[in-house]
Protein backbone atom coordinates (compact mmCIF):
# COMPACT_ATOMS: atom_id res chain seq x y z
CA UNK A 1 0.00 0.00 0.00
CA UNK A 2 1.55 3.27 -1.14
CA UNK A 3 0.22 5.95 1.21
CA UNK A 4 0.76 9.68 0.87
CA UNK A 5 0.12 12.12 3.69
CA UNK A 6 -0.41 15.80 2.88
CA UNK A 7 1.09 17.65 5.79
CA UNK A 8 1.40 21.30 6.75
CA UNK A 9 3.40 23.01 9.44
CA UNK A 10 1.34 25.52 11.43
CA UNK A 11 1.67 27.66 14.59
CA UNK A 12 0.89 25.62 17.72
CA UNK A 13 -2.72 26.05 18.76
CA UNK A 14 -1.71 27.58 22.10
CA UNK A 15 0.07 30.43 20.26
CA UNK A 16 -1.02 34.01 20.64
CA UNK A 17 -1.17 35.35 17.11
CA UNK A 18 -0.25 38.95 16.23
CA UNK A 19 -0.69 40.74 12.92
CA UNK A 20 2.50 41.68 11.05
CA UNK A 21 3.27 45.21 9.87
CA UNK A 22 2.05 44.44 6.34
CA UNK A 23 -1.45 43.96 7.77
CA UNK A 24 -2.11 40.82 5.72
CA UNK A 25 -0.01 38.21 7.50
CA UNK A 26 0.92 37.25 11.05
CA UNK A 27 4.16 37.77 12.96
CA UNK A 28 6.06 34.53 12.72
CA UNK A 29 9.18 35.23 14.81
CA UNK A 30 8.22 33.96 18.23
CA UNK A 31 5.88 31.18 17.26
CA UNK A 32 6.21 27.54 18.12
CA UNK A 33 5.62 25.54 14.90
CA UNK A 34 4.07 22.09 14.88
CA UNK A 35 2.48 19.58 12.53
CA UNK A 36 -1.12 20.66 11.86
CA UNK A 37 -3.08 18.61 14.46
CA UNK A 38 -5.38 17.09 11.83
CA UNK A 39 -2.34 16.10 9.75
CA UNK A 40 -0.91 14.36 12.79
CA UNK A 41 -3.99 12.12 12.77
CA UNK A 42 -3.27 11.52 9.07
CA UNK A 43 0.32 10.44 9.77
CA UNK A 44 -0.81 8.12 12.56
CA UNK A 45 -3.53 6.52 10.44
CA UNK A 46 -1.10 6.04 7.55
CA UNK A 47 1.36 4.29 9.87
CA UNK A 48 -1.36 2.00 11.23
CA UNK A 49 -2.48 1.05 7.72
CA UNK A 50 1.12 0.38 6.68
CA UNK A 51 1.67 -1.73 9.81
CA UNK A 52 -1.37 -3.83 8.90
CA UNK A 53 -0.88 -4.03 5.16
CA UNK A 54 2.77 -3.22 4.44
CA UNK A 55 3.87 -0.46 2.09
CA UNK A 56 5.34 3.01 2.23
CA UNK A 57 4.26 6.26 3.87
CA UNK A 58 5.41 9.41 2.07
CA UNK A 59 4.96 12.89 3.55
CA UNK A 60 4.33 15.74 1.09
CA UNK A 61 4.55 19.30 2.39
CA UNK A 62 4.56 22.82 0.98
CA UNK A 63 6.59 25.08 3.21
CA UNK A 64 9.71 27.13 3.86
CA UNK A 65 13.03 25.74 5.14
CA UNK A 66 11.77 25.35 8.68
CA UNK A 67 8.99 23.00 7.51
CA UNK A 68 11.71 20.35 7.33
CA UNK A 69 11.25 20.04 11.10
CA UNK A 70 7.62 18.99 10.68
CA UNK A 71 8.55 16.40 8.06
CA UNK A 72 11.38 15.07 10.25
CA UNK A 73 8.90 14.73 13.12
CA UNK A 74 6.59 12.68 10.89
CA UNK A 75 9.56 10.57 9.77
CA UNK A 76 10.49 10.08 13.44
CA UNK A 77 6.93 8.88 14.10
CA UNK A 78 7.64 6.23 11.46
CA UNK A 79 6.94 7.62 7.99
CA UNK A 80 9.37 6.44 5.32
CA UNK A 81 10.22 9.48 3.26
CA UNK A 82 9.38 13.11 2.69
CA UNK A 83 9.03 15.65 -0.08
CA UNK A 84 9.24 19.36 0.72
CA UNK A 85 8.04 21.77 -1.94
CA UNK A 86 9.97 24.91 -1.10
CA UNK A 87 9.44 27.72 -3.57
CA UNK A 88 8.46 31.36 -2.92
CA UNK A 89 5.66 31.08 -5.50
CA UNK A 90 4.25 28.02 -3.71
CA UNK A 91 4.25 29.79 -0.36
CA UNK A 92 2.15 32.62 -1.82
CA UNK A 93 -0.49 30.30 -3.28
CA UNK A 94 -4.11 30.29 -2.07
CA UNK A 95 -5.93 27.07 -1.11
CA UNK A 96 -6.65 26.05 -4.68
CA UNK A 97 -3.10 26.93 -5.75
CA UNK A 98 -1.74 24.75 -2.94
CA UNK A 99 -3.99 21.92 -4.12
CA UNK A 100 -2.70 22.25 -7.70
CA UNK A 101 0.91 22.11 -6.48
CA UNK A 102 0.24 19.12 -4.20
CA UNK A 103 -1.64 17.31 -6.97
CA UNK A 104 1.35 17.80 -9.29
CA UNK A 105 3.73 16.48 -6.61
CA UNK A 106 1.53 13.48 -5.80
CA UNK A 107 1.12 12.81 -9.51
CA UNK A 108 4.86 12.06 -9.70
CA UNK A 109 4.56 9.36 -7.02
CA UNK A 110 2.86 5.98 -6.88
CA UNK A 111 -0.17 6.05 -4.55
CA UNK A 112 -3.09 3.88 -3.44
CA UNK A 113 -4.30 6.16 -0.67
CA UNK A 114 -3.88 9.84 0.19
CA UNK A 115 -4.66 11.10 3.69
CA UNK A 116 -4.95 14.79 4.58
CA UNK A 117 -6.13 16.80 7.55
CA UNK A 118 -9.72 18.08 7.22
CA UNK A 119 -8.28 21.58 7.43
CA UNK A 120 -5.13 23.38 8.49
CA UNK A 121 -5.70 25.31 11.70
CA UNK A 122 -3.98 28.40 10.24
CA UNK A 123 -5.92 29.36 7.10
CA UNK A 124 -8.92 27.11 7.91
CA UNK A 125 -9.81 26.58 4.25
CA UNK A 126 -11.30 23.05 4.40
CA UNK A 127 -10.33 22.97 0.75
CA UNK A 128 -7.00 21.35 -0.07
CA UNK A 129 -7.83 17.66 0.46
CA UNK A 130 -10.98 17.40 -1.71
CA UNK A 131 -9.47 19.78 -4.28
CA UNK A 132 -6.38 17.57 -4.66
CA UNK A 133 -8.66 14.56 -5.13
CA UNK A 134 -10.66 16.38 -7.78
CA UNK A 135 -7.50 17.38 -9.65
CA UNK A 136 -6.27 13.77 -9.54
CA UNK A 137 -9.75 12.54 -10.51
CA UNK A 138 -10.06 10.21 -7.52
CA UNK A 139 -12.92 10.00 -4.97
CA UNK A 140 -12.66 11.83 -1.66
CA UNK A 141 -14.37 11.50 1.72
CA UNK A 142 -13.94 14.19 4.36
CA UNK A 143 -14.13 14.20 8.18
CA UNK A 144 -13.34 10.52 8.70
CA UNK A 145 -13.28 9.11 12.24
CA UNK A 146 -12.94 5.41 11.35
CA UNK A 147 -11.88 3.42 8.30
CA UNK A 148 -11.35 -0.18 7.22
CA UNK A 149 -9.67 -1.37 4.02
CA UNK A 150 -10.56 -4.65 2.36
CA UNK A 151 -9.73 -5.86 -1.15
CA UNK A 152 -9.07 -2.49 -2.69
CA UNK A 153 -12.12 -0.89 -1.06
CA UNK A 154 -12.14 1.51 1.87
CA UNK A 155 -15.11 1.96 4.16
CA UNK A 156 -15.12 5.31 5.93
CA UNK A 157 -17.20 6.65 8.79
CA UNK A 158 -17.72 10.34 8.07
CA UNK A 159 -18.94 12.73 10.78
CA UNK A 160 -21.89 14.94 9.91
CA UNK A 161 -24.17 17.18 11.99
CA UNK A 162 -25.70 14.94 14.63
CA UNK A 163 -24.23 11.61 13.56
CA UNK A 164 -22.05 9.64 11.18
CA UNK A 165 -22.44 8.39 7.62
CA UNK A 166 -20.77 5.22 6.37
CA UNK A 167 -19.44 5.40 2.80
CA UNK A 168 -17.45 3.04 0.63
CA UNK A 169 -14.94 3.97 -2.05
CA UNK A 170 -12.58 2.08 -4.32
CA UNK A 171 -8.85 2.79 -4.01
CA UNK A 172 -7.06 4.95 -4.94
CA UNK A 173 -8.88 7.67 -3.03
CA UNK A 174 -8.27 10.50 -0.60
CA UNK A 175 -9.78 10.97 2.83
CA UNK A 176 -9.45 13.74 5.40
CA UNK A 177 -9.24 13.25 9.13
CA UNK A 178 -11.49 14.16 12.01
CA UNK A 179 -10.55 14.24 15.68
CA UNK A 180 -11.39 10.84 17.15
CA UNK A 181 -9.77 8.86 14.30
CA UNK A 182 -6.80 7.85 16.44
CA UNK A 183 -4.38 8.99 19.12
CA UNK A 184 -1.13 10.00 17.38
CA UNK A 185 2.02 8.36 18.74
CA UNK A 186 4.99 10.33 19.96
CA UNK A 187 8.28 10.10 18.11
CA UNK A 188 10.62 7.79 20.05
CA UNK A 189 14.29 8.62 20.51
CA UNK A 190 15.41 5.79 18.17
CA UNK A 191 12.74 7.09 15.78
CA UNK A 192 14.29 10.54 15.88
CA UNK A 193 17.75 9.06 15.20
CA UNK A 194 16.47 7.00 12.27
CA UNK A 195 14.56 9.94 10.83
CA UNK A 196 17.81 11.80 10.20
CA UNK A 197 18.79 9.18 7.64
CA UNK A 198 15.45 8.88 5.87
CA UNK A 199 15.15 10.38 2.38
CA UNK A 200 13.80 13.94 2.23
CA UNK A 201 13.69 15.57 -1.21
CA UNK A 202 13.27 19.30 -1.69
CA UNK A 203 11.55 20.43 -4.87
CA UNK A 204 10.74 23.67 -6.61
CA UNK A 205 7.69 24.27 -8.77
CA UNK A 206 9.90 23.82 -11.85
CA UNK A 207 10.86 20.34 -10.56
CA UNK A 208 7.13 19.53 -10.55
CA UNK A 209 6.73 20.76 -14.12
CA UNK A 210 4.84 23.85 -12.94
CA UNK A 211 5.32 27.45 -13.97
CA UNK A 212 5.69 29.79 -10.99
CA UNK A 213 3.93 32.50 -13.03
CA UNK A 214 0.72 30.45 -12.93
CA UNK A 215 0.57 31.00 -9.17
CA UNK A 216 1.27 34.73 -9.10
CA UNK A 217 -2.43 35.73 -9.26
CA UNK A 218 -4.24 33.80 -6.52
CA UNK A 219 -8.02 33.81 -6.83
CA UNK A 220 -8.36 34.52 -3.12
CA UNK A 221 -6.26 37.32 -1.67
CA UNK A 222 -6.12 38.56 1.90
CA UNK A 223 -6.78 42.31 1.88
CA UNK A 224 -6.65 42.96 5.60
CA UNK A 225 -6.37 41.15 8.89
CA UNK A 226 -7.73 42.35 12.18
CA UNK A 227 -8.20 40.97 15.63
CA UNK A 228 -11.76 39.90 16.36
CA UNK A 229 -13.74 42.47 18.34
CA UNK A 230 -12.43 42.28 21.88
CA UNK A 231 -15.10 41.13 24.27
CA UNK A 232 -15.38 43.58 27.09
CA UNK A 233 -17.72 41.61 29.32
CA UNK A 234 -16.52 40.68 32.70
CA UNK A 235 -19.63 41.50 34.71
CA UNK A 236 -19.58 39.24 37.74
CA UNK A 237 -23.03 38.69 39.20
CA UNK A 238 -23.19 39.16 42.94
CA UNK A 239 -25.73 37.67 45.27
CA UNK A 240 -26.12 36.15 48.71
CA UNK A 241 -26.18 32.59 47.48
CA UNK A 242 -26.30 30.44 44.33
CA UNK A 243 -30.08 30.87 44.03
CA UNK A 244 -29.88 34.68 44.16
CA UNK A 245 -27.09 34.77 41.58
CA UNK A 246 -28.95 32.38 39.29
CA UNK A 247 -32.13 34.47 39.54
CA UNK A 248 -30.24 37.66 38.68
CA UNK A 249 -28.48 35.96 35.74
CA UNK A 250 -31.73 34.71 34.25
CA UNK A 251 -33.32 38.15 34.73
CA UNK A 252 -30.40 39.79 32.87
CA UNK A 253 -30.46 37.22 30.06
CA UNK A 254 -34.16 37.80 29.63
CA UNK A 255 -34.49 41.56 30.13
CA UNK A 256 -31.09 43.00 29.19
CA UNK A 257 -29.46 40.59 26.73
CA UNK A 258 -32.86 39.31 25.49
CA UNK A 259 -31.45 35.93 24.50
CA UNK A 260 -33.92 33.80 26.45
Amino acid sequence: MEIIVLLKQVPATDSLVAIADDGVSIKTDDLNWVINPYDEFAVEEALRIREAQGGTVTIVTIGPDKAVEAIRTALAMGADKGVLINDPAALAADGLGAARILAAAVGQLPYDLIIAGQRAVDDENFQVGPAVAELLNIPSITLVIQEEINDGTIRCHRTVEGGTVVLESPLPMLFTTQRGLNEPRYASLPGVMKAKKKPLDTKTLADLGLDAGDFSQPLVRIQAMRLPPERTGGRIIDGDDAAAKAAELVRLLHEEAKVI
Binding site: P11, L96, L167, P170, L219, R226, A242, I260
Partner: protein, 322 residues
Protein backbone atom coordinates in the same frame (compact mmCIF):
# COMPACT_ATOMS: atom_id res chain seq x y z
CA UNK B 1 -21.28 35.55 -16.78
CA UNK B 2 -24.58 36.70 -15.34
CA UNK B 3 -25.08 38.95 -12.33
CA UNK B 4 -27.07 36.24 -10.63
CA UNK B 5 -26.56 34.39 -7.38
CA UNK B 6 -27.01 30.65 -7.02
CA UNK B 7 -27.83 29.36 -3.52
CA UNK B 8 -27.37 25.64 -2.92
CA UNK B 9 -29.83 24.66 -0.20
CA UNK B 10 -29.54 21.85 2.31
CA UNK B 11 -32.24 19.93 4.06
CA UNK B 12 -32.41 17.65 7.08
CA UNK B 13 -35.26 15.24 6.39
CA UNK B 14 -38.36 17.17 5.35
CA UNK B 15 -37.19 20.68 6.26
CA UNK B 16 -34.44 23.06 5.21
CA UNK B 17 -31.58 23.52 7.62
CA UNK B 18 -31.60 26.92 9.31
CA UNK B 19 -28.42 27.92 7.48
CA UNK B 20 -30.34 27.53 4.21
CA UNK B 21 -32.60 30.44 5.18
CA UNK B 22 -29.47 32.40 6.05
CA UNK B 23 -27.85 31.76 2.64
CA UNK B 24 -31.08 32.53 0.79
CA UNK B 25 -31.43 35.82 2.67
CA UNK B 26 -27.77 36.74 2.11
CA UNK B 27 -27.98 35.56 -1.50
CA UNK B 28 -30.99 37.83 -2.04
CA UNK B 29 -29.09 40.83 -0.63
CA UNK B 30 -26.10 40.09 -2.90
CA UNK B 31 -28.30 39.58 -5.97
CA UNK B 32 -30.04 42.90 -5.30
CA UNK B 33 -26.67 44.64 -4.98
CA UNK B 34 -25.50 43.09 -8.26
CA UNK B 35 -28.77 43.90 -10.01
CA UNK B 36 -29.34 40.21 -10.68
CA UNK B 37 -31.67 37.52 -9.44
CA UNK B 38 -31.47 34.70 -6.89
CA UNK B 39 -31.80 31.09 -7.94
CA UNK B 40 -32.08 28.30 -5.38
CA UNK B 41 -30.80 24.83 -6.23
CA UNK B 42 -32.42 22.09 -4.14
CA UNK B 43 -30.94 18.59 -4.38
CA UNK B 44 -32.37 15.41 -2.92
CA UNK B 45 -35.01 12.75 -3.37
CA UNK B 46 -38.68 13.65 -2.98
CA UNK B 47 -37.81 17.31 -2.39
CA UNK B 48 -39.89 19.08 -5.00
CA UNK B 49 -42.56 20.13 -2.51
CA UNK B 50 -39.93 21.31 -0.02
CA UNK B 51 -38.12 23.18 -2.81
CA UNK B 52 -41.13 25.41 -3.46
CA UNK B 53 -40.66 26.92 0.02
CA UNK B 54 -37.41 28.61 -1.05
CA UNK B 55 -39.55 31.24 -2.78
CA UNK B 56 -40.62 32.63 0.62
CA UNK B 57 -37.02 33.59 1.31
CA UNK B 58 -36.38 35.45 -1.90
CA UNK B 59 -35.62 32.86 -4.57
CA UNK B 60 -36.75 34.11 -7.96
CA UNK B 61 -36.23 30.71 -9.54
CA UNK B 62 -36.01 27.33 -7.85
CA UNK B 63 -34.23 24.46 -9.52
CA UNK B 64 -35.22 21.09 -8.11
CA UNK B 65 -32.82 18.21 -8.73
CA UNK B 66 -35.09 15.46 -7.47
CA UNK B 67 -33.67 11.99 -7.96
CA UNK B 68 -33.18 8.75 -6.01
CA UNK B 69 -29.42 8.97 -6.55
CA UNK B 70 -29.41 12.23 -4.54
CA UNK B 71 -31.31 10.86 -1.53
CA UNK B 72 -28.13 10.99 0.56
CA UNK B 73 -25.32 13.49 0.13
CA UNK B 74 -22.31 12.06 -1.64
CA UNK B 75 -19.62 14.36 -2.95
CA UNK B 76 -19.43 13.16 -6.53
CA UNK B 77 -23.14 12.94 -7.27
CA UNK B 78 -23.88 16.35 -5.76
CA UNK B 79 -20.79 18.00 -7.27
CA UNK B 80 -21.78 16.63 -10.68
CA UNK B 81 -25.28 18.14 -10.55
CA UNK B 82 -24.02 21.45 -9.14
CA UNK B 83 -21.26 21.75 -11.75
CA UNK B 84 -23.80 21.13 -14.51
CA UNK B 85 -26.15 23.81 -13.17
CA UNK B 86 -23.31 26.30 -12.66
CA UNK B 87 -22.17 25.63 -16.23
CA UNK B 88 -25.59 26.38 -17.70
CA UNK B 89 -26.56 29.24 -15.35
CA UNK B 90 -23.15 30.99 -15.15
CA UNK B 91 -23.87 32.61 -11.77
CA UNK B 92 -21.52 35.33 -10.52
CA UNK B 93 -21.68 33.95 -6.99
CA UNK B 94 -22.49 30.51 -5.59
CA UNK B 95 -23.40 30.43 -1.90
CA UNK B 96 -24.09 27.59 0.50
CA UNK B 97 -23.90 26.81 4.22
CA UNK B 98 -20.59 26.02 5.91
CA UNK B 99 -21.96 22.65 7.01
CA UNK B 100 -20.16 19.33 6.64
CA UNK B 101 -21.94 19.04 3.29
CA UNK B 102 -21.34 22.60 2.09
CA UNK B 103 -17.64 22.69 2.90
CA UNK B 104 -17.03 19.30 1.28
CA UNK B 105 -19.02 20.15 -1.84
CA UNK B 106 -17.49 23.57 -2.41
CA UNK B 107 -13.90 22.34 -1.95
CA UNK B 108 -14.43 19.81 -4.70
CA UNK B 109 -16.26 22.32 -6.93
CA UNK B 110 -13.53 24.94 -6.54
CA UNK B 111 -11.07 22.56 -8.17
CA UNK B 112 -13.48 21.39 -10.85
CA UNK B 113 -14.43 24.95 -11.85
CA UNK B 114 -11.04 26.52 -11.10
CA UNK B 115 -13.00 28.97 -8.96
CA UNK B 116 -12.18 31.12 -5.93
CA UNK B 117 -13.53 29.75 -2.66
CA UNK B 118 -13.88 31.44 0.73
CA UNK B 119 -15.28 29.08 3.33
CA UNK B 120 -16.97 29.66 6.68
CA UNK B 121 -17.56 33.37 6.03
CA UNK B 122 -19.23 35.58 8.63
CA UNK B 123 -19.81 38.64 6.42
CA UNK B 124 -19.94 39.35 2.69
CA UNK B 125 -19.76 42.60 0.76
CA UNK B 126 -19.37 43.62 -2.87
CA UNK B 127 -16.62 45.90 -4.12
CA UNK B 128 -16.61 46.66 -7.83
CA UNK B 129 -18.71 43.58 -8.42
CA UNK B 130 -16.19 41.37 -6.64
CA UNK B 131 -16.85 39.62 -3.38
CA UNK B 132 -15.12 40.62 -0.20
CA UNK B 133 -15.55 37.99 2.48
CA UNK B 134 -14.76 38.18 6.18
CA UNK B 135 -13.68 34.93 7.70
CA UNK B 136 -11.85 33.71 10.75
CA UNK B 137 -8.36 32.24 10.51
CA UNK B 138 -5.98 30.76 13.06
CA UNK B 139 -8.79 29.10 14.96
CA UNK B 140 -10.75 32.30 15.43
CA UNK B 141 -7.81 34.41 16.60
CA UNK B 142 -7.71 36.47 13.39
CA UNK B 143 -10.49 37.93 11.27
CA UNK B 144 -9.42 38.34 7.65
CA UNK B 145 -11.04 40.20 4.76
CA UNK B 146 -10.38 38.30 1.55
CA UNK B 147 -11.09 39.39 -2.02
CA UNK B 148 -12.31 36.78 -4.47
CA UNK B 149 -11.68 37.08 -8.19
CA UNK B 150 -12.62 35.16 -11.30
CA UNK B 151 -15.97 33.54 -12.01
CA UNK B 152 -17.90 32.04 -10.40
CA UNK B 153 -16.99 33.00 -6.84
CA UNK B 154 -17.82 30.36 -4.25
CA UNK B 155 -18.63 31.02 -0.60
CA UNK B 156 -19.84 29.02 2.35
CA UNK B 157 -21.49 30.82 5.24
CA UNK B 158 -20.99 30.06 8.92
CA UNK B 159 -24.30 29.02 10.52
CA UNK B 160 -25.88 31.66 12.79
CA UNK B 161 -23.71 34.47 11.38
CA UNK B 162 -26.19 36.14 9.02
CA UNK B 163 -29.69 37.48 9.41
CA UNK B 164 -32.71 35.67 7.99
CA UNK B 165 -35.20 37.84 6.10
CA UNK B 166 -38.45 36.55 4.76
CA UNK B 167 -38.85 38.24 1.37
CA UNK B 168 -41.07 36.82 -1.31
CA UNK B 169 -39.36 35.92 -4.56
CA UNK B 170 -41.15 34.82 -7.66
CA UNK B 171 -40.29 31.25 -6.75
CA UNK B 172 -40.67 29.80 -10.22
CA UNK B 173 -40.10 26.06 -9.88
CA UNK B 174 -38.14 24.21 -12.59
CA UNK B 175 -36.75 20.72 -12.61
CA UNK B 176 -33.16 19.78 -13.32
CA UNK B 177 -32.40 16.59 -15.19
CA UNK B 178 -30.11 14.40 -13.09
CA UNK B 179 -27.60 11.97 -14.52
CA UNK B 180 -25.42 10.82 -11.66
CA UNK B 181 -23.54 8.41 -13.94
CA UNK B 182 -21.65 5.68 -12.11
CA UNK B 183 -20.61 7.25 -8.81
CA UNK B 184 -17.51 5.70 -7.30
CA UNK B 185 -18.57 6.40 -3.72
CA UNK B 186 -21.34 4.25 -2.33
CA UNK B 187 -23.59 5.25 0.56
CA UNK B 188 -23.86 2.39 3.05
CA UNK B 189 -25.73 3.73 6.06
CA UNK B 190 -26.38 6.70 8.28
CA UNK B 191 -26.22 6.55 12.07
CA UNK B 192 -27.93 9.59 13.56
CA UNK B 193 -28.41 10.41 17.22
CA UNK B 194 -32.11 11.08 17.28
CA UNK B 195 -33.21 14.51 18.34
CA UNK B 196 -29.68 15.75 18.80
CA UNK B 197 -29.06 19.33 17.71
CA UNK B 198 -25.52 19.84 16.42
CA UNK B 199 -23.60 22.44 18.41
CA UNK B 200 -22.74 24.38 15.22
CA UNK B 201 -26.41 24.88 14.44
CA UNK B 202 -27.88 25.38 17.89
CA UNK B 203 -29.15 28.77 18.95
CA UNK B 204 -28.00 28.11 22.51
CA UNK B 205 -25.07 25.94 23.60
CA UNK B 206 -24.41 24.82 27.18
CA UNK B 207 -20.90 23.38 27.61
CA UNK B 208 -19.11 21.57 30.40
CA UNK B 209 -15.38 21.38 31.04
CA UNK B 210 -12.89 19.91 33.44
CA UNK B 211 -14.89 21.33 36.34
CA UNK B 212 -17.55 18.71 35.64
CA UNK B 213 -15.18 16.29 37.36
CA UNK B 214 -16.48 13.24 35.53
CA UNK B 215 -18.75 11.91 32.80
CA UNK B 216 -21.94 12.86 34.65
CA UNK B 217 -23.16 15.90 32.69
CA UNK B 218 -26.71 15.71 34.06
CA UNK B 219 -26.74 19.25 35.50
CA UNK B 220 -25.56 20.67 32.16
CA UNK B 221 -27.97 18.47 30.22
CA UNK B 222 -30.88 19.57 32.41
CA UNK B 223 -30.18 23.24 31.75
CA UNK B 224 -29.71 22.52 28.04
CA UNK B 225 -33.04 20.69 27.94
CA UNK B 226 -34.80 23.63 29.60
CA UNK B 227 -33.21 26.09 27.12
CA UNK B 228 -33.70 23.74 24.15
CA UNK B 229 -29.94 23.99 23.75
CA UNK B 230 -27.21 21.68 22.48
CA UNK B 231 -24.58 20.32 24.88
CA UNK B 232 -20.95 21.11 24.15
CA UNK B 233 -17.69 20.28 25.88
CA UNK B 234 -14.17 21.58 26.29
CA UNK B 235 -11.23 19.66 24.93
CA UNK B 236 -10.25 18.40 28.38
CA UNK B 237 -13.73 16.95 28.94
CA UNK B 238 -13.45 15.18 25.58
CA UNK B 239 -9.88 14.02 26.22
CA UNK B 240 -11.05 12.51 29.52
CA UNK B 241 -13.61 10.52 27.55
CA UNK B 242 -16.55 12.20 29.29
CA UNK B 243 -18.10 13.45 26.04
CA UNK B 244 -17.90 12.45 22.36
CA UNK B 245 -15.54 14.25 19.97
CA UNK B 246 -18.53 15.67 18.11
CA UNK B 247 -19.33 17.85 21.14
CA UNK B 248 -15.93 19.55 21.32
CA UNK B 249 -15.87 23.33 21.02
CA UNK B 250 -12.52 24.90 20.15
CA UNK B 251 -9.69 25.25 17.68
CA UNK B 252 -9.38 21.50 17.13
CA UNK B 253 -13.10 20.97 17.52
CA UNK B 254 -16.03 22.97 16.27
CA UNK B 255 -16.42 26.71 16.09
CA UNK B 256 -19.81 27.87 17.32
CA UNK B 257 -21.58 31.23 17.24
CA UNK B 258 -24.87 30.74 19.07
CA UNK B 259 -26.86 33.61 20.50
CA UNK B 260 -26.10 32.30 23.99
CA UNK B 261 -23.12 30.23 25.13
CA UNK B 262 -23.02 28.98 28.72
CA UNK B 263 -19.61 27.69 29.86
CA UNK B 264 -19.80 25.53 33.00
CA UNK B 265 -16.57 24.60 34.72
CA UNK B 266 -14.49 25.71 31.73
CA UNK B 267 -11.42 27.75 32.59
CA UNK B 268 -11.06 29.22 29.09
CA UNK B 269 -7.90 27.94 27.38
CA UNK B 270 -7.03 30.02 24.31
CA UNK B 271 -8.05 27.14 22.00
CA UNK B 272 -11.49 27.00 23.62
CA UNK B 273 -12.00 30.76 23.51
CA UNK B 274 -11.14 30.66 19.80
CA UNK B 275 -14.04 28.28 19.25
CA UNK B 276 -16.78 30.27 21.01
CA UNK B 277 -15.85 33.94 21.30
CA UNK B 278 -18.04 34.91 18.34
CA UNK B 279 -21.11 33.87 20.37
CA UNK B 280 -23.45 36.80 20.90
CA UNK B 281 -23.74 36.44 24.67
CA UNK B 282 -21.41 34.39 26.86
CA UNK B 283 -22.14 33.22 30.41
CA UNK B 284 -19.48 31.58 32.56
CA UNK B 285 -19.93 29.62 35.76
CA UNK B 286 -16.68 28.70 37.47
CA UNK B 287 -15.52 28.40 41.04
CA UNK B 288 -12.15 30.00 40.21
CA UNK B 289 -12.65 33.78 40.10
CA UNK B 290 -9.34 34.09 38.23
CA UNK B 291 -10.37 31.80 35.34
CA UNK B 292 -9.63 33.48 31.96
CA UNK B 293 -13.16 32.66 30.77
CA UNK B 294 -14.51 35.52 32.93
CA UNK B 295 -12.61 38.09 30.84
CA UNK B 296 -14.62 36.95 27.79
CA UNK B 297 -17.96 36.41 29.50
CA UNK B 298 -20.73 38.99 29.43
CA UNK B 299 -22.07 37.54 32.66
CA UNK B 300 -20.08 35.53 35.15
CA UNK B 301 -21.02 33.66 38.28
CA UNK B 302 -18.24 32.64 40.62
CA UNK B 303 -19.38 29.52 42.39
CA UNK B 304 -19.71 25.77 42.38
CA UNK B 305 -21.38 24.80 39.12
CA UNK B 306 -23.17 21.90 40.81
CA UNK B 307 -24.96 24.42 43.04
CA UNK B 308 -25.35 27.24 40.54
CA UNK B 309 -26.37 25.48 37.33
CA UNK B 310 -29.41 23.64 38.81
CA UNK B 311 -30.59 26.99 40.22
CA UNK B 312 -30.28 28.56 36.77
CA UNK B 313 -32.34 25.67 35.39
CA UNK B 314 -35.03 26.32 38.01
CA UNK B 315 -35.09 30.05 37.22
CA UNK B 316 -35.41 29.37 33.47
CA UNK B 317 -38.29 27.02 34.23
CA UNK B 318 -39.97 29.72 36.33
CA UNK B 319 -39.47 32.26 33.56
CA UNK B 320 -41.06 29.97 30.99
CA UNK B 321 -44.04 29.36 33.25
CA UNK B 322 -44.57 33.02 34.11
Amino acid sequence: MSQNVLAITEQAGDHFRKVTYEILSEGKRLAAALGGSLTALVLGSGITELAAGAGEYGADRILAADDDTLAEYTTEAYAGVCAGVIDSESPAIVITGASTQGKDLMARLSARLNAALATDCVALALEDGQLMASRYMYGGKILADVRLSGSPQLVTIRPNAMAVEKTAGEGKLETVAVDAGEPRIRFIEKKMETGKVDITEADIVVSGGRGMGGPDFSVVEALAAELEAAVGASRSAVDEGWRPFSDQVGQTGKVVSPSLYVACGISGAIQHLAGMSSSKVIVAVNKDAEAPIFAKADYGIVGDLFEVVPRITEEVKKLKNS
